[in-house]
Amino acid sequence: SQQGEEDPQALSIQEGENATMNCSYKTSINNLQWYRQNSGRGLVHLILIRSNEREKHSGRLRVTLDTSKKSSSLLITASRAADTASYFCATDADNAGKSTFGDGTTLTVKP
Protein backbone atom coordinates (compact mmCIF):
# COMPACT_ATOMS: atom_id res chain seq x y z
CA SER A 1 0.00 0.00 0.00
CA GLN A 2 1.10 3.58 -0.56
CA GLN A 3 2.83 5.46 2.24
CA GLY A 4 1.35 8.83 1.41
CA GLU A 5 -2.19 9.94 0.85
CA GLU A 6 -3.03 13.20 -0.83
CA ASP A 7 -6.13 15.17 -0.10
CA PRO A 8 -8.22 16.17 -1.95
CA GLN A 9 -8.12 13.67 -4.81
CA ALA A 10 -9.27 16.39 -7.19
CA LEU A 11 -9.35 20.18 -6.98
CA SER A 12 -10.80 22.67 -9.46
CA ILE A 13 -10.17 26.41 -9.10
CA GLN A 14 -10.16 29.61 -11.14
CA GLU A 15 -6.99 31.20 -12.42
CA GLY A 16 -5.55 33.56 -9.82
CA GLU A 17 -6.86 31.60 -6.84
CA ASN A 18 -4.67 29.69 -4.44
CA ALA A 19 -4.57 25.88 -4.39
CA THR A 20 -3.79 23.86 -1.30
CA MET A 21 -3.06 20.14 -1.33
CA ASN A 22 -2.38 17.97 1.68
CA CYS A 23 -0.35 14.83 2.15
CA SER A 24 -0.27 12.41 5.06
CA TYR A 25 2.23 9.63 5.57
CA LYS A 26 2.72 6.79 7.99
CA THR A 27 6.37 6.21 8.93
CA SER A 28 9.45 8.24 9.84
CA ILE A 29 11.05 10.06 6.94
CA ASN A 30 14.30 11.71 5.90
CA ASN A 31 12.48 14.20 3.74
CA LEU A 32 9.29 14.78 1.80
CA GLN A 33 9.21 15.85 -1.82
CA TRP A 34 6.49 17.19 -4.08
CA TYR A 35 6.30 16.38 -7.77
CA ARG A 36 4.10 17.51 -10.65
CA GLN A 37 2.97 15.26 -13.49
CA ASN A 38 1.40 16.51 -16.70
CA SER A 39 -0.82 14.22 -18.75
CA GLY A 40 0.47 10.98 -17.24
CA ARG A 41 4.06 11.47 -18.37
CA GLY A 42 7.26 12.05 -16.43
CA LEU A 43 7.28 13.62 -12.99
CA VAL A 44 8.93 16.97 -12.39
CA HIS A 45 10.51 17.65 -9.02
CA LEU A 46 9.06 20.76 -7.37
CA ILE A 47 10.44 21.06 -3.87
CA LEU A 48 12.12 19.02 -1.14
CA ILE A 49 11.64 19.65 2.55
CA ARG A 50 13.83 17.89 5.07
CA SER A 51 12.46 16.29 8.21
CA ASN A 52 14.02 19.03 10.39
CA GLU A 53 12.44 21.84 8.36
CA ARG A 54 8.95 23.21 8.92
CA GLU A 55 8.40 25.44 5.90
CA LYS A 56 9.98 26.02 2.53
CA HIS A 57 9.29 28.39 -0.36
CA SER A 58 10.09 28.24 -4.03
CA GLY A 59 8.57 30.90 -6.25
CA ARG A 60 4.77 30.54 -6.01
CA LEU A 61 5.11 27.31 -4.03
CA ARG A 62 4.99 27.02 -0.26
CA VAL A 63 5.42 23.68 1.49
CA THR A 64 4.92 22.96 5.16
CA LEU A 65 5.84 19.84 7.08
CA ASP A 66 4.51 18.72 10.45
CA THR A 67 6.36 15.58 11.46
CA SER A 68 4.34 15.24 14.68
CA LYS A 69 1.18 14.89 12.58
CA LYS A 70 2.98 13.13 9.72
CA SER A 71 1.53 15.58 7.25
CA SER A 72 2.57 18.13 4.66
CA SER A 73 0.83 20.73 2.57
CA LEU A 74 1.60 22.30 -0.78
CA LEU A 75 0.26 25.76 -1.49
CA ILE A 76 0.34 27.18 -5.02
CA THR A 77 -0.40 30.88 -4.99
CA ALA A 78 -1.88 32.91 -7.85
CA SER A 79 -2.54 29.77 -9.88
CA ARG A 80 -2.30 29.70 -13.67
CA ALA A 81 -3.89 27.45 -16.26
CA ALA A 82 -0.41 25.96 -16.81
CA ASP A 83 -0.49 24.67 -13.22
CA THR A 84 -3.13 22.13 -14.30
CA ALA A 85 -1.53 18.77 -13.50
CA SER A 86 -1.41 15.98 -10.96
CA TYR A 87 0.62 16.64 -7.83
CA PHE A 88 2.25 13.90 -5.78
CA CYS A 89 3.99 13.83 -2.47
CA ALA A 90 6.78 11.32 -1.96
CA THR A 91 8.55 10.31 1.20
CA ASP A 92 12.11 9.12 1.52
CA ALA A 93 12.78 6.93 4.53
CA ASP A 94 15.97 5.44 3.13
CA ASN A 95 17.16 7.22 0.03
CA ALA A 96 15.61 9.18 -2.79
CA GLY A 97 15.72 6.26 -5.18
CA LYS A 98 13.24 4.33 -3.06
CA SER A 99 10.67 7.08 -2.64
CA THR A 100 7.13 6.14 -1.69
CA PHE A 101 4.46 8.11 -3.51
CA GLY A 102 0.86 8.89 -2.70
CA ASP A 103 -1.92 8.66 -5.27
CA GLY A 104 -1.87 12.36 -6.04
CA THR A 105 -4.16 15.36 -6.28
CA THR A 106 -5.44 16.31 -9.72
CA LEU A 107 -5.53 20.09 -9.99
CA THR A 108 -7.53 21.85 -12.70
CA VAL A 109 -7.07 25.59 -13.06
CA LYS A 110 -9.73 27.19 -15.23
CA PRO A 111 -8.79 30.26 -17.28
Binding site: N30, N31, H45, L48, N95, G97, K98, D103, G104
Partner: protein
Protein backbone atom coordinates in the same frame (compact mmCIF):
# COMPACT_ATOMS: atom_id res chain seq x y z
CA UNK B 1 22.28 18.50 -21.31
CA UNK B 2 19.97 15.58 -21.98
CA UNK B 3 17.60 14.53 -19.27
CA UNK B 4 16.64 10.97 -18.41
CA UNK B 5 15.75 9.17 -21.62
CA UNK B 6 13.57 6.08 -21.89
CA UNK B 7 12.78 3.83 -24.80
CA UNK B 8 10.48 2.87 -26.28
CA UNK B 9 7.79 5.45 -25.48
CA UNK B 10 4.96 3.05 -26.20
CA UNK B 11 4.78 -0.72 -26.37
CA UNK B 12 2.01 -3.21 -27.00
CA UNK B 13 2.49 -6.82 -25.96
CA UNK B 14 0.28 -9.86 -25.45
CA UNK B 15 -0.09 -11.94 -22.33
CA UNK B 16 2.82 -14.31 -21.71
CA UNK B 17 5.32 -12.31 -23.71
CA UNK B 18 8.47 -10.73 -22.37
CA UNK B 19 9.45 -7.06 -22.53
CA UNK B 20 12.63 -5.04 -22.06
CA UNK B 21 12.52 -1.34 -21.24
CA UNK B 22 15.58 0.89 -21.40
CA UNK B 23 16.73 3.95 -19.52
CA UNK B 24 19.68 6.32 -19.81
CA UNK B 25 20.27 8.50 -16.74
CA UNK B 26 21.42 12.08 -16.72
CA UNK B 27 25.14 12.29 -17.39
CA UNK B 28 27.02 11.92 -14.10
CA UNK B 29 24.14 10.22 -12.30
CA UNK B 30 25.03 6.81 -10.96
CA UNK B 31 21.74 5.77 -9.36
CA UNK B 32 18.79 4.57 -11.41
CA UNK B 33 15.38 3.63 -10.08
CA UNK B 34 12.36 2.09 -11.76
CA UNK B 35 8.76 2.80 -10.90
CA UNK B 36 5.44 1.41 -12.13
CA UNK B 37 2.49 3.76 -12.36
CA UNK B 38 -0.95 2.30 -12.92
CA UNK B 39 -3.58 4.70 -14.24
CA UNK B 40 -5.04 6.81 -11.46
CA UNK B 41 -2.38 5.90 -8.90
CA UNK B 42 1.00 7.17 -7.84
CA UNK B 43 4.27 5.55 -8.92
CA UNK B 44 5.29 2.38 -7.08
CA UNK B 45 8.95 1.59 -6.50
CA UNK B 46 10.25 -1.49 -8.34
CA UNK B 47 14.07 -1.39 -8.25
CA UNK B 48 17.02 0.83 -7.45
CA UNK B 49 20.51 0.30 -8.83
CA UNK B 50 23.70 2.06 -7.90
CA UNK B 51 27.10 1.32 -9.43
CA UNK B 52 25.61 -1.79 -11.09
CA UNK B 53 24.49 -3.24 -7.77
CA UNK B 54 20.86 -3.67 -6.74
CA UNK B 55 20.26 -1.37 -3.80
CA UNK B 56 16.60 -2.02 -3.29
CA UNK B 57 13.61 -3.92 -4.56
CA UNK B 58 9.95 -3.16 -4.12
CA UNK B 59 7.07 -5.57 -3.66
CA UNK B 60 7.04 -7.02 -7.17
CA UNK B 61 7.15 -10.65 -8.32
CA UNK B 62 10.27 -12.35 -9.64
CA UNK B 63 8.96 -11.86 -13.16
CA UNK B 64 10.43 -8.37 -12.82
CA UNK B 65 14.19 -8.04 -13.10
CA UNK B 66 16.62 -5.27 -13.90
CA UNK B 67 20.27 -4.54 -14.37
CA UNK B 68 22.59 -1.58 -14.67
CA UNK B 69 25.45 -1.36 -17.13
CA UNK B 70 28.95 0.15 -16.69
CA UNK B 71 27.75 3.36 -18.39
CA UNK B 72 24.97 3.55 -15.73
CA UNK B 73 22.16 2.92 -18.20
CA UNK B 74 19.62 0.36 -17.11
CA UNK B 75 17.14 -2.18 -18.40
CA UNK B 76 13.95 -3.42 -16.81
CA UNK B 77 12.73 -6.84 -17.91
CA UNK B 78 9.30 -8.26 -17.31
CA UNK B 79 8.61 -11.92 -18.16
CA UNK B 80 5.33 -13.76 -18.61
CA UNK B 81 3.36 -10.54 -18.98
CA UNK B 82 -0.04 -10.27 -17.34
CA UNK B 83 -2.86 -7.87 -18.16
CA UNK B 84 -2.19 -6.19 -14.83
CA UNK B 85 1.32 -5.24 -15.95
CA UNK B 86 -0.21 -2.60 -18.20
CA UNK B 87 1.12 0.66 -16.82
CA UNK B 88 3.47 3.58 -17.30
CA UNK B 89 6.99 2.54 -16.38
CA UNK B 90 9.12 5.40 -15.16
CA UNK B 91 12.86 5.58 -14.78
CA UNK B 92 14.47 8.08 -12.45
CA UNK B 93 18.08 8.97 -11.81
CA UNK B 94 19.99 10.77 -9.10
CA UNK B 95 23.65 11.44 -8.40
CA UNK B 96 24.32 8.73 -5.85
CA UNK B 97 20.88 7.73 -4.59
CA UNK B 98 21.63 9.32 -1.22
CA UNK B 99 19.00 10.77 1.10
CA UNK B 100 17.84 14.28 0.23
CA UNK B 101 18.81 14.00 -3.44
CA UNK B 102 16.35 15.03 -6.11
CA UNK B 103 15.01 12.39 -8.44
CA UNK B 104 14.91 13.24 -12.14
CA UNK B 105 12.33 11.29 -14.11
CA UNK B 106 12.13 10.28 -17.73
CA UNK B 107 8.90 10.55 -19.72
CA UNK B 108 8.18 6.87 -19.26
CA UNK B 109 7.30 3.85 -21.35
CA UNK B 110 3.59 3.18 -21.70
CA UNK B 111 3.15 -0.60 -21.75
CA UNK B 112 -0.14 -2.12 -22.85
CA UNK B 113 -0.65 -5.85 -22.39
CA UNK B 114 -3.50 -7.33 -24.42
Amino acid sequence: DAGVTQSPTHLIKTRGQQVTLRCSPISGHKSVSWYQQVLGQGPQFIFQYYEKEERGRGNFPDRFSARQFPNYSSELNVNALLLGDSALYLCASSLRGNPNEKLFFGSGTQLSVL
